[in-house]
Symmetry: D5
Subunit: 126 residues, 10 copies
């Protein structure tokens, strides 16, 4: 069962006031959960992007958090929205975005994007 | 014959006021209809992108709705425009966009884009 | 000899006032004309993009119009500019753009872009 | 030895006042000069983009101009800057940009961009 | 041990006041350091982009500077932030950006972006 | 309903005795039929390869023959086997091969290969 | 728990004696099992290729058979070998091959190939 | 009108008896002729491969020979067969192969292969 | 310092006599050693392919064995040959092949292949 | 002027009698010479593959040897044949192959292959 308890955090690198910013992206191409309607597994890529305020998420704990959805029955839209809200609550970042790309069913593939805060200029143009 | 009756909807994930947004894209690479002029089949990819206000479209019903065009004689521009208008009417989303990419005839391939509402910033830069 | 007489048009799909827009792109990867200087054939891709005001160009007539340049001696810049002006005159669209991509000569490949009107926001971000 | 004398120009296509614009890109994937420090040859792609005011550069003369750098010892940054300045002086275009992409040395590949004037909107979104 | 002492600089090409700009990108696909937690090597690509004010960094010295991290135990976020800060201090450029792309561990690959100053328009649209 | 009556043939180019051979491949990326079990449409690419003995199949008639399967309920293996047998019977070629590549259902994509005669050396190594 | 009971079969298309052959490939890019050593999930693509003697495997039942490994702890080599042996036992094909491609751990990706019988010439050259 | 008169030849490099061989491939992605049935232009790539016995074909003359088909009405199979026979007659090579790849009509693309002599081992495995 | 002591092995899956075979490939894209001449690091991909007789190499131990070359000064040809000989000695496989692909120096990239035994037919055609 | 004097060699790794073999490939994507007919530069990729008998060619000296053709007027076929013969004479390898891939002139790109000895089985199937 998915739980935020698994997540660990560390201090973001200090950045000089008004001059420097740091943006982070972690892409996991091995996300899987279960369709609550059919019981068939769903496979996708989950991308986390954020601008930390004080803390960064530790990679191995993030991987375990994602793995906790393996046998969870949950819709595309809900899992994307939930992970976005949970990580935003846990880290209070300046900006955070979750993008899920699903291999799809019956010939339709899907992308869901949930976000909290405004895309930093440096990322949008990077 | 194409009909909106097939479509089913479910509640969009709730999003905290003023802080979070959700954007959705479904890509179907198996769209086919018939050219009303020559009677030959047309093949294309149809992409639906939208920002839900209250409801999301259920994937299997969307697939069946698309399949209902299989033997319909209809031009590229009209089928794109019609699907855009119908889905916008049915879901009242904040933004909705239909992009069709056609394999083409006689060496010319085409893309038609119909939209309703303004592209959300998060998608444009995502 | 190239002539606009070949072109045929049909009514653009009606769009609800202030809410919906349609944008169209036709890509022809089989364009050929002749270099007026060397007499050697030029090969390229010609892309037409436009936002119709009242009419759309019929695809087969567009193909024949393009084919009428097959043995015409004309420079890259001129053919691009001419097709842009002619189609803009014939259709009075809100926006129209011609992009030609030439396979090139002597190791240099070229792209020429001619336009009339301002790129619609929906296309620029689509 | 590189010299601007080789370059030839022709009149840009006339464009209706206030309504139409033309933008031009020439990509040469066969640029080579010599590293002044090591004497080893450098290989790269050189891209010229511009919006003509009155004249366009003739392609074959441009190719010969580029070839004149073949045995010239010159740094990445300098050759990019020099070609940008020389072509801008010779054509007085509304906008001109030189981008060089170098295959690199010791595992590092480089891109240098020099420009004169502001990127036209039609190109930036094209 | 990483040290800035290795770096060498040369004068940026002079640019006419108010009319011309130069932007530089160096991509090194052979960056490696060590994970301070597991002791396993990390592999990635490091991209430096900047707009020089007075000096440019010499390529071979940049390569040696990067190589000095080979056996250094340092986190993704910290090495990105540190290189950004050090090069910005050493060159005082108008704008500087470091992007690191890591092959990843346990199925998650990462991108970290650190920057100093605002992305120049010419680069963002280039 | 699929029928061989649609097919037309023309004489193969004459080839000098013992010295020259001709091999032909036609790839149709727009094949569609219907799954007899679920009623859902199947989409695929169908490739015909053959070495003619006396006649070649005319392209437009081949296209119409393929289109006659559009609303036919038939399994992957059967449609491949049937087209192979029918074309081999109709043309009596030295060699004939049908390869179908299906976009698949439920995350599994399939390739079926049916053949009549031995692959000519020139093709196998070509 | 993996079990062959799930599998269903249907009669292979009849093939004229000595003249025609059929070869079949099913590619599933959504295979997942669990590493028995670390407990972490493994992700891979599993490819089945065979020449049927009397029966073909039904696709949906094959998918369910693969899904039954989802929470099974089993090594790369063993799962490949086991599926090869089980399907060969169940279908008695003329030839059968299982290829698994694993996304890998710690920077190493793997391919395992198990086979029963000799590759048919038509496939090897197809 | 196509004519072999345009072709020029030069002596093949001498090769030590029994020890060395030379194989040559020229790929022209700009071939065009006309469909004799519909009058529409056909576009394709034409590949010449051969092992010279005494002479090689000069590149510019080969290009002019290909260009002489520009307004010729001729079927795919015939133009491939004709060029193969003509070049084989003119050069008497040890081996010669013509492969034409056509962009196709009505969703079907084609490859025609004509050859004279046996593929040399060094090429087949090269 | 590289040492075979790190390697661990496990029993190969049992294969029915005369009917089944197993082939294994491990690709490590993160190999690095040092050039003994210049002291600069070399980066490459190392591929191990083998047909086990009795034992398979354990993946994590293989990774550590490769990492032991990180600061070793050794030429491309020697490291390839050495790893081939060491693994062949340690596992006594029916066939073993090492392929190294190096990113290269001074514009030249290299591939070295060392092998022991004959490529199994199933792999060569797989 | 091209000269073999530049080349340096080192001892091939020893290989156990009858059990092990080594094959080597060096790819240089930065080869340039001059067309003796037009005086324009030619650009290409040159690939050397060989099975050493006693010696291997040192990489930096090979690069300098290739660079010595920079201002040499020589045809595609001749430069390929010459380099093949010279390296075969200098190293007396079991097998040696030179493949040159030229960017081409006037829309035609070329590949020339010269070889000495028979392709080793391990390479052909590798």
């Amino acid at each position: 069962m998915p739980t935020l308890e698994i997540l660990e955090f560390f201090d973001a690198p200090s950045t000089s006031a008004g001059r420097s910013a740091i943006l982070i992206e972690h892409v996991n191409e091995e996300f899987t959960s279960v369709c609550p309607k059919t019981g068939h597994p769903d496979f996708g890529t989950i991308t986390l992007r954020y601008e930390p305020r004080a803390v960064c998420v530790e990679l191995k704990s993030l991987k375990l958090y994602y793995q906790s959805f393996r046998n969870e029955g949950i819709f595309y839209e809900d899992v994307t929205s939930r992970i976005c809200r949970d990580l935003a609550d846990a880290m209070s970042p300046s900006w955070l975005q979750i993008v899920t790309d699903w291999r799809g069913r019956g010939g339709i593939r899907s992308r869901i994007l949930a976000s909290s805060g405004v895309v930093p200029t440096a990322w949008a143009r990077g």
